[in-house]
Subunit: 200 residues, 2 copies
């Protein structure tokens, strides 16, 4: 964009570095903010700075937290024998919203992706192995995404951790609840047939 002032250009540039925000969206955000109350901008700037300063990784599960170890790791109400392995803090939050899981977590911070140059060493897999040795887990649930990379990462971890006495499971894939067979993609429908479960 031409002909904006240097200070506006810096703001647009800063917004445009964020994921999913292109030049036009960045300009729209910048123009929106400079026309709002000063307090709106200050609230956002303050929230940015304090979040960035306060948030760190939990030394145990590697989730984002304000105090390490985090509440998920220290809560006495959670099951010490269950460990759920997720790709990201967002995935952890998504699982929490289901209220179906009450064990511990481990955040990998990514998946194995040779195309993007991400190998096992770039993830928190070593830390996972150390936890498994130290803890007394009965089951480990691999809850990486049902994508090619997520499946490969789950398989990789399964081969590393599988030992007598430890159950290794994978979250179920199949038709989303409320969806229709007619409109399901064939891979998902095929998986829902393969992974059918007995009702009696």
């Amino acid at each position: 964009m031409l002909n904006t002032t240097p200070v506006m250009q810096r703001l647009i540039d800063a917004f445009a570095t964020l994921p999913g925000i292109g030049r036009k969206s960045a300009a729209r955000l910048a123009y929106y903010l400079v026309r709002q109350d000063v307090s709106a901008t200050e609230t956002l700037a303050q929230a940015l700075l304090s979040a960035r300063r306060a948030i760190k990784l939990c030394e145990t599960c590697h989730n984002l937290c304000e105090t390490s170890p985090c509440d998920f790791c220290t809560s006495p109400k959670r099951d010490d024998a269950l460990l759920c392995v997720v790709e990201s803090p967002q995935d952890l939050m998504a699982i929490e919203t289901t209220r179906e899981y009450h064990g511990r977590y481990h955040v990998l911070h990514g998946v194995i992706s040779p195309l993007e140059g991400i190998g096992p060493r770039d993830l928190k897999i070593h830390e996972l192995l150390v936890r498994l040795q130290q803890g007394a887990f009965r089951e480990i649930i691999l809850a990486t995404n049902p994508s090619i990379e997520g499946e490969a990462t789950a398989l990789y971890i399964k081969n590393l951790v599988i030992t007598a006495g430890l159950r290794v499971s994978r979250i179920a894939s199949g038709l989303p609840m409320g969806s229709q067979l007619e409109f399901a993609d064939k891979v998902t429908l095929g998986r829902s047939l393969l992974d059918r479960r007995a009702l009696s």
Copy 2:
């Protein structure tokens, strides 16, 4: 979203107030930023604060600027007899990128929209009339959007400003350059027929 920390929640809330950013996008931005270098967050926060503090409205054209009157109003290279009326600073910038216009500008900061409760008094229309009385304009180009509100606002201003010796024009509507008649909407195609221009 449940189960995020208070400081993250404040950041997500702050992002979610921005136009075009919903809860999910806001969470994605927040999670992205807290995992980047501290400098990335500080750059954005600093850009926000300095833009909001430095940017004001030009006392003449009401465009956003750092020094009032702005460069568009003071530049001796621009034509004092031409005035282009636009809805927003973004529209002004869009016109500048064409490099086809070298007159002065006037930014209305909106359009008349009874449904949204925006009347002529909420726009910089009074300021426009004052400028027209004081200046020596030969032509005023109404460059509001070709939307219902933009057309109505252009018509409203035309009726107010029309006097002997002042040419009042409207930007052309028609088929976008490079488009195809077959896929044009009928209103646009109809307008391009009505506003056809002689080639000889």
